[in-house]
Symmetry: C2
Subunit: 307 residues, 2 copies
């Protein structure tokens, strides 16, 4: 039986394009869901085997719904990531020209990323919100609006034409998508891995963040993302979402995570997975796995008097 992959739909979204980049996608059944929570609940229930959602965008920042679901919802685990260049196109019904465009529809995240181009080329067009760029394309196909901001790959699916490509203002904008499974043994280390954890500060105290950061810095572990969020459990109760270099199987990462576990109210392991950008960490003096192994053997010899 083929695996079932969930994604934030409808068909033609950037998330679908990201899902198609994950290993096993070609053999899998693809199921669109209307919202991030809906896709994750399908995964939790066992209706699907894997779900792909957006985590952060280099222009818009992190996606709060995704962070909150993974931090405090019923646990699911990140098993991979894909970085997709953000490249918007203006899609219209066949035969339309720029002069015909009076309304432009898109997901609310898309509009600010194309603001300059829109102001220059269709200054009088009004913007309309859609729940996804693909839905905006559907509305254009239905004749409800004149144009949609979406990936050019969505044009064919909705019978539209690409009137202009690469219309986003910021070059090199990237969206980071993650693939999730139910809690499982993490994928094997590749040497270029990333790990995500959520640390809960039960009661705020002076130096709480410094305490957490020190667990990483003294073992030479670089953070790639840190986000604080309220937990919703009252004032002073908050959490840190942290992405950092390395795999939970690495000795330095293991010791740092045990340190977090000891000093935080709670720690949730969200996943260790291959980095999409394949950046290799610079492992500092004294923090290689072999250094930890040697130090543990030395300590044992000291404790037993067999040095």
């Amino acid at each position: 039986m083929p695996e079932r992959f969930a994604y934030l739909g409808p068909q033609g979204t950037f998330t679908e394009a990201a899902m198609r980049a994950f290993p096993g996608s070609a053999q899998a059944e693809h199921l669109p869901y209307a919202t991030v929570p809906a896709a994750l609940d399908a995964l939790r229930r066992g209706d699907v085997d894997l779900a792909v959602v957006a985590l952060e965008n280099s222009v818009e920042g992190s996606v709060p719904t995704t962070l909150d679901e993974l931090a405090t919802g019923e646990p699911v685990q990140i098993v991979g990531e894909v970085h997709l260049p953000v490249s918007f196109a203006l899609l219209v019904r066949p035969g339309m020209s720029l002069a015909d465009v009076k309304t432009v529809a898109s997901h609310p995240h898309a509009q600010p990323q194309c603001r300059r181009w829109l102001a220059e080329h269709v200054p009088d067009a009004e913007w309309r919100a859609a729940t996804s760029n693909a839905e905006a394309a559907q509305h254009v196909a239905d004749g409800l609006y004149d144009a949609a901001l979406a990936g050019s790959f969505a044009a064919a699916r909705y019978g539209l034409e690409v009137l202009a490509e690469d219309i986003h203002d910021v070059a090199d904008a990237v969206t980071r998508f993650i693939a999730l499974r139910r809690p499982c043994e993490p994928p094997a280390p590749t040497g270029t891995d990333r790990t995500t954890v959520v640390a809960f500060i039960g009661e705020d105290h002076p130096g709480a963040l410094l305490e957490i950061l020190t667990e990483f810095s003294m073992r030479g572990i670089n953070l790639t993302l840190i986000q604080s969020r309220p937990t919703g459990a009252g004032l002073g109760s908050y959490l840190f979402w942290m992405d950092f270099e390395g795999h939970v199987a690495d000795a330095r990462v293991g010791e740092a995570l045990m340190g977090l576990r000891r000093v935080c109210a709670d720690v949730r392991f969200v996943g260790s997975y291959a980095r999409a950008d394949r950046v290799r960490p610079d492992i500092r003096r004294g923090t290689h796995d072999a250094d930890f192994t040697e130090a543990a053997a030395w300590l044992e010899s000291v404790r037993t008097g067999c040095s």
Copy 2:
């Protein structure tokens, strides 16, 4: 066969008094040695089973010879400590009075600790150096000098009288003596222990000391003594002598020592032993043995996907 205990002699020194305070001393044979290195060499050769030497004095500071011998000589291990109040007496031949005292002999460490009393009571007496206070007492008995600064317990041994007691200037001055054995399994933890290590900085680099101190501070371990010393192996090569709260069997101490081992050129374990002052450490949130055990179990569950 009784054990053989070495001490810095001759008979009647503070070191002998300290040695007599160590468990097993009453049943042991006592052997005085003329210098700290001589006592330690006797221990290393196996001529004696235990050696007692002074490590630091609350007035005069640490004893460089002892530090250097333990840091860079052939390894021996601290198995206990004794704190002895420094309490000097003025010893004279029977029948002598203050007016008869024209010369006062002592170990060079003793004279500055009684300076004020001497200036007030025997302002015209000249000071003479001896290799130990006990030797000074012997010289007084021999008629070479008029008075000696020594422990009152030395009077009987040399047929002298105590002319004045508690003549040291600083109240509550204490000398810390240590008992040493050849490298062995450390004594069992008592809950009020101290550990001594020497950390070698092979090549100086920015933040070396901060790096070392962080290994302790982030695990809530208080240092009770830190001394830097050149190793004699060239500029930039130095060592830190460090005494701190806790026993090598404690999880927080073990992890800190493994951290030192990873980041230092070398680490010498000098001993874990019961504190003479029985000060109980304040173990910080998240650094009890149970916290380390729980964190290790959690990490294992994350790594195997069995959470």
